[in-house]
Symmetry: C2
Subunit: 508 residues, 2 copies
């Protein structure tokens, strides 16, 4: 059907906003990968200008009018209807938060980030505490401005995970906690595989090359992306045709770079798989941070840390790093990269204990926002939680409550998306296993096409046209539960460790 003029006008407007946002992403990518130090001062200003123009265009009365005029048309394509709905949500949220509050949060978090860095360096929570307090006050103000049904945390969570409620996350956590803690305790009591060899010297350029090859073979398209180095790995999209990833390389730690690259490639596969028709509109990105994380975790863990995957890749890896891996067989390697051990630092945690780190953060930040926990009492609550969940205690706040940057950015509501992503990944992968005959044999043969095609069909192509929960239910037949992930953990780690309810199926 012909596109009404009002829709064309709306699209023009949204294209401009998308172009400005893409330009900002290019500038940020450049800043993290290539920019000389002398460029920083002006770059901060350039980004501020792009963001402010983009924000003004999105929240303008003109934009609201364009949405209304387009919405008044009688015949609208399904994509256009989704576009209007999603854009309206973005505009409504953005217009509810007063400009001066946005500016106060930006300024407070700039100071808080500095204070956090210093507090972490000097192991002095007191330096960070007043900034955290200030950000909590502003975040509550923001939650009130946006509005919520049950508790202010809902409004913050919704920013990252649309349509997900605090209560739903809490229910998932309660269920998970009860079933996971016994597993982690049992593993902690089991004998551990040797993983010392993973910390020998792996030539950095060969590591990078190996990661690049595997990323390409699982389907990451280098004609529509590229891989660079940065301090903190990330993926970013400038259009469906240009989705880039970065990694870092630790010469004495194989897993850092390789699984980091796979993780970012997983994010990027999502963005590369979005329907090209959605490009340059608010629909052209992942539907939620949780769903995004599900894609990175699926490729990093369910594929990349599986036995069949290494049946296929280990001979090549071994011959690439013969001096380090020459005497290590694939079973020993597989056990080492899947070693589970309660540890203090979230970003270094294995896939089993990782969720406990997240649950702790979610529970604490929910209470902080509600006012049920004071900033003053936070370090003690942190340590108590670590002991309860992981059975270990930080020896100082730097490796405890001060380890993550998120709170200094005012990003309350972000942490749960890591947990949601982990659970979604397991549920999606289980459904893919049911749908694709001999999936693990295919992975053992280095064939990833069917899996990627399944994800493209059920998740990627839609961009933001569908909410995460809807996509998950349509593709897996049920709403999100921890069942698939727990079953995966029990099966996989039952083979590697002695577990209370181990099924012993192993290496599926």
């Amino acid at each position: 059907m012909p596109v009404p003029a009002s829709v064309d006008k709306l699209l023009d407007h949204l294209h401009r906003i998308a172009d400005l946002n893409a330009a900002a992403s290019v500038l940020e990518w450049d800043q993290e990968t290539h920019m000389p130090s002398g460029g920083l001062e002006a770059r901060v200003q350039q980004l501020r200008t792009l963001r402010s123009i983009s924000h003004d265009l999105l929240t303008s009365d003109a934009c609201v009018e364009l949405l209304e005029q387009a919405d008044a048309e009688e015949e609208l394509s399904a994509i256009t209807q989704d576009l209007i709905r999603v854009t309206r949500r973005d505009v409504d949220r953005a217009r509810r938060v007063p400009t001066d509050l946005v500016e106060r949060i930006t300024e407070a978090s700039a100071h808080a980030k500095e204070a956090w860095r210093s507090a972490r360096t000097h192991d002095d929570f007191g330096q960070f505490a007043p900034h955290l307090e200030r950000l909590l006050v502003l975040s509550r103000e923001k939650a009130e401005a946006i509005g919520y049904e049950k508790e202010p945390y809902d409004a913050l969570l919704e920013e990252y995970e649309p349509r997900m409620t605090t209560e739903e996350v809490a229910a998932l956590c309660t269920d998970l906690r009860e079933r996971l803690i016994p597993i982690v305790s049992a593993i902690a009591d089991s004998s551990q595989p040797d993983d010392d060899f993973l910390h020998r010297r792996f030539d950095p350029s060969k590591q990078l090359q190996f990661g690049r090859t595997v990323a390409s073979e699982i389907g990451y398209d280098f004609d529509h992306g590229r891989l660079d180095l940065s301090t903190h790995p990330f993926s970013t999209a400038f259009s469906v045709g240009d989705v880039r990833i970065t990694t870092r390389v630790a010469p004495d730690h194989f897993s850092t770079s390789f699984f980091g690259t796979l993780h970012e490639a997983g994010h990027a596969l999502y963005e590369q798989g979005i329907d090209k028709k959605l490009d340059r509109t608010p629909l052209a990105s992942g539907t939620s941070l949780g769903m995004h994380e599900s894609q990175s975790r699926l490729w990093e863990n369910h594929v990349g840390r599986s036995f069949p995957f290494w049946q296929h890749y280990y001979p090549e890896l071994q011959s690439t790093f013969r001096d380090v891996l020459g005497t290590i067989d694939v079973d020993a390697f597989y056990a080492a990269i899947n070693k589970v051990q309660p540890s203090l630092i979230r970003v270094e945690a294995d896939e089993v204990t990782y969720n406990l780190h997240i649950m702790l953060r979610f529970e604490l930040e929910r209470q902080l926002i509600d006012g049920n926990l004071s900033v003053e009492d936070l370090p003690e609550a942190w340590n108590a939680g670590m002991e309860e969940y992981l059975g270990i205690l930080p020896s100082n706040d730097a490796e405890g409550v001060l380890q993550d940057i998120h709170w200094s950015l005012g990003a309350f509501g972000y942490f749960p998306t890591y947990l949601l992503g982990t659970l979604m990944a397991a549920q999606l992968y289980t459904a893919a296993e049911d749908a694709i005959p001999d999936l693990s044999k295919k992975i053992g043969g280095g064939q990833f096409d069917d899996l990627l095609a399944w994800l493209r069909r059920h998740i990627h192509q839609f961009g933001r046209r569908r909410y995460a929960q809807g996509l998950l239910e349509a593709s897996t037949g049920r709403e999100l539960t921890p069942d698939a992930w727990l079953a995966y953990v029990e099966r996989k780690y039952g083979d590697l460790y002695t577990l209370p309810s181990a099924t012993g199926v192993g290496r599926g």
Copy 2:
């Protein structure tokens, strides 16, 4: 003195424009250096959006009002007065050209560029001719819109070389032609040095490293810039603190990469030397393309192709490429890199014959704009000019009239700036030699600080605060003439070849 509120408002407005332009430059730099092919389609749109918003902000009534309000203040700093004057010129020019004409030129040149590429590939001028005709019509329309005193070409030239007139360029050319053609003929009749060894294999990564080292030693600051590879070398500035250069490396041609890197470093030294106070305003760039080119030519030719320079660097170069240069002494190397030979392709021309290529283009495009030469007759006029000036004839249009991209972009008035830059470089360098005791000894000792400081003081720091001619007269004591350049050529090449009026001073 305190800055009036009206000036602050004007600055805010101009900062936003500068930020948008800088963002566009980052996107262009990325496109030429790193972007995967899949990113092109969206990138074109992103650039169009940034440019259109920037153009709208510059030409808006609000901008004119801000200029007027600031200009009405009683006490304005010298910088602010310059800022208002230069910005007003930009705004006036931009507002005189109707938006629909800008769009017609953009569209026509997009088609013309395609047609030009195909015409060059197939050596078929007929494919390009109608597009060139169309661009000439539009350029005349643009010249009429902008206005001029004597001829339409003035209005076009002024875009690249403010305050320079067609008559002035023509007078320089007439003078130059008479004195240069006999020199070129005499060289063509002299015996030639051997330069075959420059075309042996030079390891690409060593070439790049050598160029990087020298760029850094002449003063290019890698904390405020970086060097990347691209098909066509260029320099670009995102702020005074981030000025980047690119180069290309030909494995079998030493001069391509090395002198290309020096050339771009020369451009970049100019931008890195602009007063930081001018950053994020229209004053923060080179004052004209001619003056910009003078900086690149000065470092590439007067420094980089001088004998003292290689007295200093040749031992290092020789030890870096011992397999190729082991048996070549510095005299033979110096003669080879300064070999003069009339040739067909401008971008491959030596520094002596280069100006003849430019004069030909200037004379032809001036007549094309005036209507004194038809597109149909252009190829013949080209060939006649090549024979008259350089004594050689292209065997086809691909290596003749179709070789340059400029006309397909509608960039009439651009070519003369190469010639102006060459002449300015010689005049500036001669003044620097007078002002700096033992300059050539210093260069022979690898000391470039005094020369750079002299250029910073007399040229760089001002950005666009002064016109090129004013800077030149203030720093050299006279207006632009070909004298200094001809004296330089006669002295240098009198030593290398048998010239009619050779002074024999040589290697100064």
